[in-house]
Symmetry: C2
Subunit: 375 residues, 2 copies
């Protein structure tokens, strides 16, 4: 069995960009990489075969959702998450911390863990850091995230301090749990937008010697320049030879900027979620295919795109499918948007490999219409 380790192939001389390979027992992940999100053990609207065909080398699944439905015991009985969903490459599971945090009034955080009510049926649950890791052990993911407390934006210094200290205390407890075979745990840096808190968080987690680190508490509604700033000083606090994962980021501009600041892994529901709303991602920004203006537009979403959707279907047809509420519309746009995002990561890796990353980034962002904030 191949061991889990991160191979740093090349550092970009002009930016913080890094080219690498995250070796795992389930196969290599060429970084920087984007992880499509398969919240409920399915990348929405796609077969695992299609996701692999699009070039994804790792996907993300959600512990919170799978714990509630169908339950981790059922998945353990199925032979683990890979067999349950028929995806045989690496899987990263988040710890559920962010989803439970997002429940708002439905949850109460104590030093011991989190009491919450299910968003599905209101049933009562309690998850401790130990329990969060045990669930992920049952799921059998390859990267399991520590159970953290995500600070919202904005957060006061005092509140961010408390969240960060709890995250640190919980990270120590998570680290005590024995991972599944073929599994490692990543720690999550918190500290909101406060450099001192990020530094304390990073230092404590580095002491715990996790095989990788995530930067949490970003992409929660802050302005993008602020996210880039926090990212810049936070990645600098992390060990060079460990992978870095920016949680919840997936718009094209943020991917370029994240890579430029030393990020190796990304995940985001954006490509799949906006697809189901009738929005296509393109090199010049978002294209809302539902719009009436495309009713008689018999050209593809993007003439230069070679995905199945762009090779076979027109904007007019896609608009009709959305108008008529047809499943095929969601499928075709999901396919296009994942292709766009995974293909973008390939372009980023190529640019890092041939030393043109800074120019390629400038070129891309010059034509791209970005949105203002991270949410």
């Amino acid at each position: 069995m191949q061991e889990f380790y991160f191979e740093l192939l090349k550092k970009d001389p002009q930016t913080g960009g890094r080219l690498g390979i995250l070796h795992t027992p389930r196969g290599d992940i060429h970084t920087p990489a984007f992880m499509p999100v398969g919240t409920q053990a399915t990348v929405k609207a796609m077969t695992p075969e299609e996701v692999e065909g699009l070039g994804a080398e790792i996907i993300l699944a959600n512990t919170y959702h799978l714990y509630l439905r169908p339950g981790e015991e059922l998945i353990r009985q199925a032979g683990g998450l890979h067999r349950f969903m028929n995806w045989h490459r690496p899987i990263l599971t988040d710890s559920g911390g962010f989803q439970i945090f997002s429940l708002g009034s439905l949850r109460r955080i104590t030093a011991e863990g989190v009491y919450f009510r299910s968003h599905l049926d209101g049933s009562r649950h309690f998850i401790s850091p130990e329990r969060a890791m045990e669930i992920q052990v049952a799921l059998g993911s390859n990267i399991a995230m520590a159970f953290d407390v995500c600070s919202p934006f904005p957060s006061s210094y005092a509140a961010a301090l408390e969240d960060m200290e709890r995250t640190t205390a919980w990270a120590k407890r998570c680290r005590e749990v024995t991972p599944a075979p073929e599994q490692v745990f990543f720690g999550i840096v918190q500290g909101s937008v406060y450099p001192e808190l990020r530094a304390r968080s990073a230092r404590a987690l580095v002491d715990l010697d996790f095989p990788g680190y995530a930067i949490g508490g970003l992409s929660v509604g802050e302005p993008k320049p602020l996210m880039y700033e926090v990212l810049e000083y936070t990645t600098a606090l992390l060990p060079e030879y460990k992978p870095r994962y920016l949680m919840g980021v997936g718009s094209a501009d943020c991917l370029w900027e994240g890579v430029a600041r030393g990020v190796d892994l990304f995940d985001c529901v954006l490509p799949t979620r906006v697809a189901r709303n009738g929005t296509a991602l393109t090199p010049w920004g978002k294209l809302v295919v539902r719009n009436a203006g495309y009713a008689r537009d018999f050209s593809p979403i993007d003439r230069d795109c070679n995905c199945y959707t762009c090779r076979n279907h027109t904007r007019a047809y896609l608009r009709h499918l959305f108008n008529a509420g047809e499943i095929l519309g969601a499928r075709l746009l999901t396919l296009h948007n994942l292709h766009f995002t995974l293909n973008l990561m390939q372009k980023i890796r190529d640019a890092l490999a041939n030393g043109s990353f800074a120019q390629a980034k400038e070129l891309f962002l010059g034509q791209y219409q970005a949105q203002g904030s991270t949410k």
Copy 2:
């Protein structure tokens, strides 16, 4: 360009079964054939490539739906329905008669045509027999159905007579319209469950010399034995060397029984519709994958099925997908159900070819749990 003609290859000596090839300018259709339904220019949840991969040689689309949305003019501008939806094999369009008939209080039938309100927005419309054919000419389907009046079940003799006579009068008007290139018109026999009316309807339509004939007014809620009885005496009224199409039929038992009574073409939403409700078709009847009993059933729907779904996914996973409202559930069951139905037609053709149809039918129906009525 290959002409449209029906080649009768073989007649079953023990039943009314027929093996044939319906040659069309868009390719051959091996009969008896099942046509997957693509109501709104998409076989729900499937790409055209997948539908073709499952072995479908012709699909059906709905004039009523496409007339309302996106409109036949837009489809004409797109280069016709084949190009619009990227399906390049034959397409049959129904005339919209059945859908408008199903609108109930929203429609009024006169000698001239039908006044109706859209089920989408309540807007007022009028469709005459000529208009129904003109819309199908704009769509550019390969088989366009005459505009008919479908008698509900039950219908009094007087009502069925009136519907049948109107259908005949309209068929004459439809026949006057010039078809699109690569297109022929089929007539529709009405007459409810009255042998005399079926005979008069068939005689009048045969006089009009349509290239093919549909049997309408069946599969509208009557008991199955009654449908078989009507079918038996109606197909006997039709010319041997023209294809016969039983509208709205697609359950496994009805396919065998229909073929045994001389039917060459079938269509039905059943395989795709029940799929989206979480029901799988199998050789032993329906399997409701949503049921709690399958929660921990890690076997495929049907061990002997070689479709993508059965080769790759378990009942437990499918149940989870439906439970969680995931699109992939609808996709995987649609794929399985279309495979089941198209594969069944292949088995029927093979049995006709090697002279074992009657035995194969008995064997199949012996293990199959059928439902009692046609709806």
